[in-house]
């Protein structure tokens, strides 16, 4: 290992690379709209510039098989599914007790999520929640990363409204985050109901205290009945808030993911538009991180909500 040099390159190489980067950056800066507004038109060829982005929130419909509208975000989701399932199948088709490198890496990644689930939800519940949390995590992360691949947004297809990109990150279309949030909601309620039965619903419809106090009131114990009645009303209200918070979760889940992914996409497009070429590189790195973090947040929050849902009521209050 040579100690001299920088980032594993010798000084002349690093200087050369820096020079190329600088020239590219300067060229892009001069050709892009930002440079042009400062220096004026320098007569650079037009293919150096990137067309102005025109982000739309609704996903474009690109296919119409049997009259069913298929948006490009659905195609993007399919790509993610194919990729994930294909990779998993390739790895687990011939599993060995002494793993190959690929299997080892795959097991390490899933094992990390498995340990996370078990450390949050406990030994038994962690095992039950692991598939749900992992599916959400893998889908969100892979979808975000795949849409960063070069060419992902460049493949276009002709439609009635003109040329449209065939692929679009599924989470930049609000339907996918909403679908994920709904699935998360469904799983939370399912596991809550399954492990605690009707007592789980008692968290939302808390009329025990109220009806008991009503009974006291009828039997003529006015003071105790009235004070109990007030507590009962508060209980009912708390239950209502609990139910509301479950619904608000869906909204917050949806818009957190949708907002982050869409903003990231637009940020990249704007960066590329303002200063074409290498200026967008740091933002790519940022978006890689954002995709991972959003996946972790979505999966982690689902895991926490699942854990809270199956926890006994008394433990939750404590």
């Amino acid at each position: 290992m040579p100690k001299r040099g920088f980032l594993g390159c010798s000084f002349p190489v690093i200087v050369g690379i820096s020079l190329v980067f600088f020239v590219l950056f300067a060229l892009g800066f001069a050709a892009g709209p930002l440079g042009r507004s400062i220096f004026g038109d320098l007569g650079l060829p037009s293919w150096l510039t990137v067309p102005q982005p025109d982000p739309k929130l609704p996903a474009e419909v690109v296919l119409h098989p049997f009259g069913f509208p298929i948006t490009n975000s659905i195609v993007g989701a399919w790509l993610t599914i194919v990729f994930l399932v294909g990779f998993s199948y390739a790895v687990t088709r011939r599993m060995k007790l002494i793993p190959t490198r690929l299997q080892s890496a795959f097991e390490y990644g899933l094992g990390w999520l498995y340990d996370l689930c078990q450390s949050v939800a406990g030994e038994k519940n962690g095992r039950r929640f692991f598939p749900v949390v992992t599916t959400i995590f893998l889908f969100v992360a892979l979808n975000a990363w795949l849409s960063l691949l070069p060419g992902f947004g460049s493949i276009t297809v002709g439609t009635a409204e003109g040329e449209m990109p065939l692929l679009r990150g599924a989470n930049t279309d609000i339907n996918m985050p909403l679908a994920l949030a709904l699935m998360s909601f469904v799983f939370v309620e399912y596991f809550g109901l399954r492990s605690r039965g009707f007592r789980y619903l008692g968290k939302f419809i808390n009329i025990g205290q109220f009806s008991q106090s009503l009974g006291q009131l009828f039997r003529g114990r006015l003071r105790a009945g009235l004070s109990g009645l007030i507590t009962g009303v508060i209980d009912i209200f708390v239950g209502f808030l609990e139910a509301l918070s479950e619904l608000v979760r869906i909204v917050s889940f949806t818009f957190r993911l949708f907002g982050n992914m869409t903003a990231g996409e637009i940020l990249l497009l704007i960066a590329m538009f303002l200063i074409p070429w290498i200026f967008a590189l740091p933002f790519y790195g940022l978006e890689l991180l954002v995709g991972f973090v959003q996946a972790l947040i979505f999966g982690g929050l689902t895991l926490v909500f699942l854990t809270v849902a199956v926890a006994p009521h008394g433990a939750e209050a404590a």
């Binding site: 659905i74 599914i81 994930l84 598939p131 992992t134 339907n175 679908a179 699935m183």
Partner: protein
């Protein structure tokens, strides 16, 4: 619903994405979670088993070592015993041989003595006989008379019997 449509929410797409998610969940469950969990479980079971086995083997080795030490000790004791016994036997044999040699020597000496005695007796006997005859002859010459040989002999024998010098041993 105008505002929601602007955001892009559309029921067919939403339903399609939910179906997509369910499909992904099912497929991943089949090709990823189930085999991986099984593999993880199996591996942890294998590791636990092999650790238990290691412990067992270690104990067994310890036991075997102890056994071997015990056996070596026993063998060395036995060897010692054998050597001691051999030495004892050797001593005994030597002693016996010595004793036998001594007995034989004594027997030889005794035989030799008896032989000598017998020779001596024979010699004395012959000497006596001769003496008697010479005496008789001499006496006959002296007195010039033939003595009754028989009577004389008796006399001489009596004399000899009384004499101490030529007494039979």
């Amino acid at each position: 619903m105008g505002g929601l449509a602007n955001l892009g929410i559309s029921v067919p797409t939403l339903v399609a994405q939910i179906i997509n998610f369910v499909i992904l969940f099912g497929l991943l469950y089949l090709v990823a979670y189930k085999p991986i969990m099984r593999m993880l479980d199996e591996r942890s079971r294998k590791i636990r088993e092999s650790m238990e086995r290691t412990e067992f083997i270690k104990q067994q080795a310890e036991r075997a070592e102890k056994e071997a030490a015990k056996r070596i000790e026993a063998a060395s004791q036995e060897g010692q015993e054998v050597i001691a016994r051999a030495m004892r036997t050797g001593e005994e044999v030597g002693r016996e041989a010595q004793q036998q040699a001594k007995q034989e020597a004594e027997a030889l000496i005794a035989r030799a003595r008896a032989e000598i005695q017998r020779e001596r007796d024979k010699a004395i006997d012959e000497l006596r006989k001769e003496f008697a005859e010479i005496t008789i002859m001499a006496a006959g010459k002296v007195i010039d008379r033939s003595l009754d040989k028989k009577a004389h002999r008796q006399i001489i024998d009596k004399v000899l019997e009384e004499s101490t010098t030529l007494k039979k041993g």
